[in-house]
């Protein structure tokens, strides 16, 4: 599991990295500006990109907890729900609230509180973090399997509370919330996403990150080195939940309407599979995984249509087949390639160049093997 990245790259390499990064950033901004200008023509692609980005934020935060600190938590959907509902409640325009809460009316305390979206996102994240802090106290003592089930349980409890009729005046229970305003433009959206991921990367590379990794590797050894286990576990849990909450808020603004059904356990499973596919312990992997899976799910849509090749209708292709293929691919990854795409490596320009360069080498190697009569490659 050697990390080929070193902090002491040569000055020339550093300069190359800098230029490469700069070019990528400019290309990225140009792409976003282009998409923004042609919003309606590319709305389908934009919505897939937005969804991938939101999933990426939550995946990285889950990776922070599971991949870097070794705490297997399945409560993501619940924290996303908290973030999403907070953002929704505070950003629905005041004059529309009465019609959205059409059955029981909105609680008078909330009726006129309107926050700008970035503040609502912040509040959502803080609320999720606060609840995580409370939950963490009893739950983080548990071993990994029990931790998973306990967090899953809390996720379901949160969902039950949100849809409870007793809380209709706050969350509108089963009726869902709609008319959530969207992002003013794409720059703001991607800006927030990059900010979140950036903050998490900074955290991972800091001394806190090293403590988390130590806890993941061997709890007992870490404790004997003087690390207060509970303190750091709680810190990781709270920070991860903060960003998960923000991710949930972003999802609410992307979807424009939410209800408690959106935040079932299956959402957590989707994020888990993104993390696994990308590589537990790799931020780049999670981001890549998020985009691949979201794009992949759309791309695989054609499996749902009947397929006719040369006039012969192939019987397998009908609705539902896409998800079966999807599940099989994921099982294959888990069974044969459990390290995922990136293992625990991060992206680096030298690594990327090496990966590209390896293609011609592989093909010549193959040729040579054939001509030499089955030489072990």
């Amino acid at each position: 599991m050697k990390n080929t990245q070193t902090n002491s790259a040569s000055p020339l390499q550093k300069k190359k990295n800098f230029t490469a990064n700069l070019i990528t950033i400019i290309a990225g901004i140009a792409l976003i500006a282009f998409l923004e200008a042609n919003k309606s023509a590319f709305s389908y692609q934009i919505s897939i990109l937005e969804r991938s980005a939101v999933m990426a934020v939550v995946a990285v935060s889950m990776n922070l907890l599971t991949g870097f600190t070794g705490l297997f938590s399945l409560g993501q959907a619940g924290f996303m729900a908290i973030g999403a509902y907070t953002v929704a409640i505070f950003t629905i325009p005041v004059q529309e609230r009465a019609s959205v809460y059409y059955v029981d009316g909105i609680a008078p305390a909330l009726a006129n509180v309107h926050l700008p979206f970035w503040l609502a996102l912040l509040v959502g994240g803080l609320l999720a973090a606060g609840i995580a802090a409370l939950i963490g106290i009893p739950v983080l003592r548990l071993k990994s399997d029990y931790l998973a089930i306990a967090t899953l349980g809390f996720s379901e409890i949160i969902r039950a509370l949100i849809s409870a009729p007793q809380f209709n005046k706050i969350t509108n229970g089963s009726y869902g919330l709609k008319n959530i305003p969207a992002f003013p433009n794409l720059f703001v959206f991607f800006g927030i996403v990059i900010l979140c991921i950036g903050l998490m990367i900074l955290l991972i590379n800091s001394s806190y990150g090293r403590v988390f990794k130590a806890i993941r590797e061997d709890e007992v050894a870490a404790e004997s080195m003087g690390i207060n286990l509970f303190h750091y576990k709680e810190l990781s849990f709270v920070i991860s939940s903060f960003f998960t909450g923000v991710g949930g808020g972003l999802l609410a603004m992307f979807m424009r309407s939410i209800d408690s059904k959106t935040f079932q356990v299956t959402l957590t499973y989707e994020i888990l599979l993104i993390v696994v596919l990308g590589g537990i312990g790799s931020v780049t992997g999670s981001v890549l995984g998020a985009f691949l899976i979201t794009f992949g799910k759309e791309w695989l849509r054609f499996f749902d249509e009947p397929l006719v090749i040369a006039g012969v209708s192939i019987p397998l292709f009908r609705t539902g087949f896409r998800m079966v293929i999807f599940s099989i691919i994921l099982m294959l990854v888990v069974l044969f390639h459990s390290r995922g795409l990136m293992g625990s490596n991060e992206f680096s320009w030298p690594g990327f160049v090496r990966w590209l360069k390896s293609f011609p080498a592989r093909f010549t190697k193959k040729k040579k093997a054939v001509s030499d009569g089955g030489e072990k490659s």
């Binding site: 009893p138 029990y146 349980g153 379901e156 039950a160 007992v220 499973y269 599979l273 994921l330 459990s338």
Partner: protein, 293 residues
């Protein structure tokens, strides 16, 4: 609440508890041996339901029932061979993720093969006969479930305590490596454990779906999760514990709904779990296991 209503609710609760108990045993057995939460267990239960629908369409009930039980067992053992065996040396998280993956796959497979629409469960003659006792009204299977559960558990405990394979199972769950060193055939023992678990899930599925009368692809996901909780409450790795957990959960859930808190009936299960994990993590009947440093 009138006494008839109360008794009716009790009956519902006990019957539900029995079905939960049968499934919970599967979880507790597998966890005891492999330290794995078999997320796919609930979906094996669901697939058994579908198998029955198709079997009964072709064969009479006295062939269908054994056929379904055999197929379910094969499914359970097959899953173990394909999805869990290769990962035996991998970190615990990988196996759990594999289990989640299998569960996901089974649900999607069921949706694809049988469509998302619910399918009616066939009637097994005799089981659905409705009996009226005083104000109580229930079908025969409602009464049968808890009785059959207790009988099967009794047989199972005899098996574990008095047969060679039972002893092997106990040995492997106590200490995996030493058991291997002692010459116990690990693969066979593990397969046998899964077989028993799946068999019981199959029986539970017949009882459960006969009582509830339709199957759809997600019928197994929530009961599956709840049954794991039941196993934990009773003490993971402990069979009477799993049974007790199942009944506690079944009765508790029914009580919650009866009292008007149906919103929280699912949440109740998890709240109970968390309380249990905080007060007595080893469960009601579990034993303390020390972590070797």
């Amino acid at each position: 609440m009138s006494s008839t209503t109360f008794l009716q609710q009790c009956l519902t609760g006990i019957s539900l508890g029995g079905a939960y108990a049968l499934i919970a045993i599967g979880y507790t057995l597998v966890y005891g041996i492999l330290r794995l939460i078999n997320f796919a267990h609930g979906d094996i239960f669901m697939m058994a339901g579908y198998f029955m629908i198709f079997a009964m369409a072709v064969f009479p009930w006295w062939i269908s029932i054994p056929l379904v039980l055999i197929i379910t067992t094969i499914l359970g053992v097959g899953i173990e061979r394909v999805a869990y065996k290769p990962l035996r040396t991998a970190p615990r998280m990988s196996v759990m993720i594999s289990a989640i993956g299998v569960s996901y796959l089974l649900q999607n497979l069921a949706t694809y093969l049988f469509t998302a629409l619910p399918k009616g469960y066939p009637e097994i003659p005799g089981l659905k006969k409705v009996y009226q006792i005083g104000g109580l009204s229930a079908s025969f299977v409602t009464f049968l479930t808890p009785v059959l559960t207790v009988a099967l558990v009794f047989i199972l405990i005899q098996l574990i305590n008095h047969t060679k394979i039972g002893m092997a199972m106990r040995a492997v769950s106590k200490d995996y490596e030493t058991a291997q060193l002692m010459g116990i055939k690990i693969d066979r023992t593990i397969s046998f454990t899964f077989a028993i678990g799946s068999l019981l899930a199959g029986v539970g599925s017949i009882l459960y779906f006969t009582d509830r009368m339709t199957v759809f692809p997600f019928s197994g996901s929530l009961p599956g999760l709840k049954c794991f909780v039941a196993a934990v409450i009773g003490g993971i790795g402990n069979i009477p514990g799993a049974v007790a957990g199942g009944f506690i959960l079944g009765l508790g859930e029914t009580a919650m709904v009866a009292m008007g808190y149906s919103t929280f009936s699912d949440a109740f299960t998890f709240i109970l779990l968390i309380i249990m994990l905080l007060i007595k993590p080893t469960g009601l009947f579990g034993e303390k296991v020390t972590d070797k440093v």
